[in-house]
Symmetry: C2
Subunit: 384 residues, 2 copies
Amino acid sequence: MFPEVEAVAPAVTAVFTTVLTEGPISRVALARRLDLSSAAVTKAARPLIEMGYLEELAATERTGPGAGRPASPLAIRADREFFVGVKITGDELIGVVCDLRAEVRTTAHRRLAVPQVDHVLIELGELVDELLDGPGDYRARTRRLGLAVSGDVDRSTGLVRYSPFLHWHDLPLQERVEKITGLTVTVENDVKALTTAEHWFGEGVGAESFALVTVGAGIGCGLVVNGRLVSGSHGVAGEIGHIGIDVNGPACHCGGRGCVEAIAGADAIVRQAQAAAGRPELRFDDAVALARAGDGPVGAVFARAGDAIGSGIAAVANLVGPSRIVVSGEGLAAYDLFEPHIRAGFQRQAFGAAADCPLSIRPLPFEEWARGAATVSIQALVAA
Amino acid sequence: MFPEVEAVAPAVTAVFTTVLTEGPISRVALARRLDLSSAAVTKAARPLIEMGYLEELAATERTGPGAGRPASPLAIRADREFFVGVKITGDELIGVVCDLRAEVRTTAHRRLAVPQVDHVLIELGELVDELLDGPGDYRARTRRLGLAVSGDVDRSTGLVRYSPFLHWHDLPLQERVEKITGLTVTVENDVKALTTAEHWFGEGVGAESFALVTVGAGIGCGLVVNGRLVSGSHGVAGEIGHIGIDVNGPACHCGGRGCVEAIAGADAIVRQAQAAAGRPELRFDDAVALARAGDGPVGAVFARAGDAIGSGIAAVANLVGPSRIVVSGEGLAAYDLFEPHIRAGFQRQAFGAAADCPLSIRPLPFEEWARGAATVSIQALVAA
DNA sequence: GCTCAATAATTTCCTTCGTCAAGTATTGAT
DNA sequence: ATCAATACTTGACGAAGGAAATTATTGAGC
């Protein structure tokens, strides 16, 4: 887990993780939260403080009725160690350096001419150097790098089995990048990485079950159930985009009919908007502009798309009953056009108490994907 | 956990559970399976053998190339203890006695005039006496009773929060029945109980993730993900029946549109068959008979229903990626009419590798629900 | 039959982890 | 100052597994 130590007691990991995700917290509170004796927490916290990962904050003011020694809450020393996160897309690398609390410290980009592996790896190496050797002097306190890639990724081996957008097959990405950068590398599917980030450091903190829906070119979904990420035994999970919500709907490239993505994916929206406006040269941004300007038929396309997404989200809520759902993604640049319809579709199809599940709908800051990648490498530190 | 003992080491529980669900298995194999040392397994198995829960089978014939001491596999002594399971429906009690391996030993029924609580409890008490004092002499070796009830049930407290079919609200069922029978009672939702049974003793054995779909008056679904039953944080989970698969479909009593249940629920099928045949007095069995006799329009109703169920199942596969799915339920009396269409709908809407998920479609023996209830009480023994 | 390699199970000793119970620390209220 | 309340620490202890040596039991090769 930590540089100096080989193995570490379960309680140490638990204490570290809980302080990390649930902020400054006293030893006694930790003991209650983790169902440990306070003695165990004291013992587990000591090495973490000695290694500089945790620190003791000044006593807080008393809360309750009267007396008692004030707690000295434990907090993460966020700048004890830094983590690089890079999201790899077909035409761009987005990189960040995060601290232990997954706060972004620096950002850098690289456009890619083609997603050809060797080319990407060279650019990636340069990007990492730029991030670590730029202002901030992160290099000395950075040992780990997380990569987020769309497609079928085996996190445990760091193998990219298949990435459709990048046209990569069975690429041992972890190994390759470790050789180039000298860092300890973790590779994860991009949606899972983002879900992890939200679960550990975002709105999903403390949730036993949680769903993240991304709206963009495709429509994806990451799931946390019983406190653990859902992986899917055939490598498929969270494919909310291919739930069929209209048996008479348009055919989808996947072979299905009326898939959410065939109605609300970016391509599908463009196609429908072109037809609705009678302008075959229309692009996504044009469609957004038209809808915002009050174009009825084009507005209806977004309405239908939002409703479809809402239906899909309701399917998630009905099936697994997450305690909250976050909807995000680059598609939500057109946030205002989607939101009411997502909510309407969700409310209509959510069954009983599932309709009470809180829905956060918000655009996604562009470096969020890279932050997700960094989060995965923070997790790797804890799990190691 | 066990009569004589208060607390029990984790390894003991693990060994017991694994032998229970994965049949006769040698200590060395157990050690590998559970990631324990063989010493630990030896130590854990001893008290279980002494208490009569496990026994050592005769050495098996060697398998491999040559030599080595033969294993003496550990097996459950299934008749060491018996468990009563009762499924409570609006008009009937179905009871069974099962052994430790959840094999049904005896069955008994009771018709109910009304689901009025006091009446049900009296009948239940009589049913249990009939089961335990009848042939087989189970009473002396039976300490536990499991109850399966539809609706919102809190297993940990044994409280029935709300059961729509029975018109029960906030009924402390566990407490009441423990008083009447003197047995240790566990109460669980019926679909979850059945899922548990299938996960421990049926086709779901060993699966990390697993789904059970029940087709009947309603359409339900139990989910096991990452080895654990999914409960849903708002008390809602597995509501496959209210996934919307047709935005232009019929309104559902839940307020949604085109829900699977509004197309493929028993009521919906009857209504559609009546319309298709132009005979408003038609009942479910008549519709089945007509479809089997080759009536085109009525056959189409079943086809549409099967397809809807298949789409819903595909949504489950796309979202959580179970390693197998079992489709069952009393609705599958019309098995032959549904099956091909369920498969077709599933194949069409399952995304990528999700389509490879094996689908078992089979009718449900009538006492299976009660067996599910008994299974839950077997689990309670292990967890206690 | 004897020896050896291979595998299964057990035993003994030991480490690790976390609890228990007692003690210290620090506060506000009386 | 004393006391109750709460937070934290300490040291002795015990339970649970692991490592390695030992015993058990087989088939193969001689």
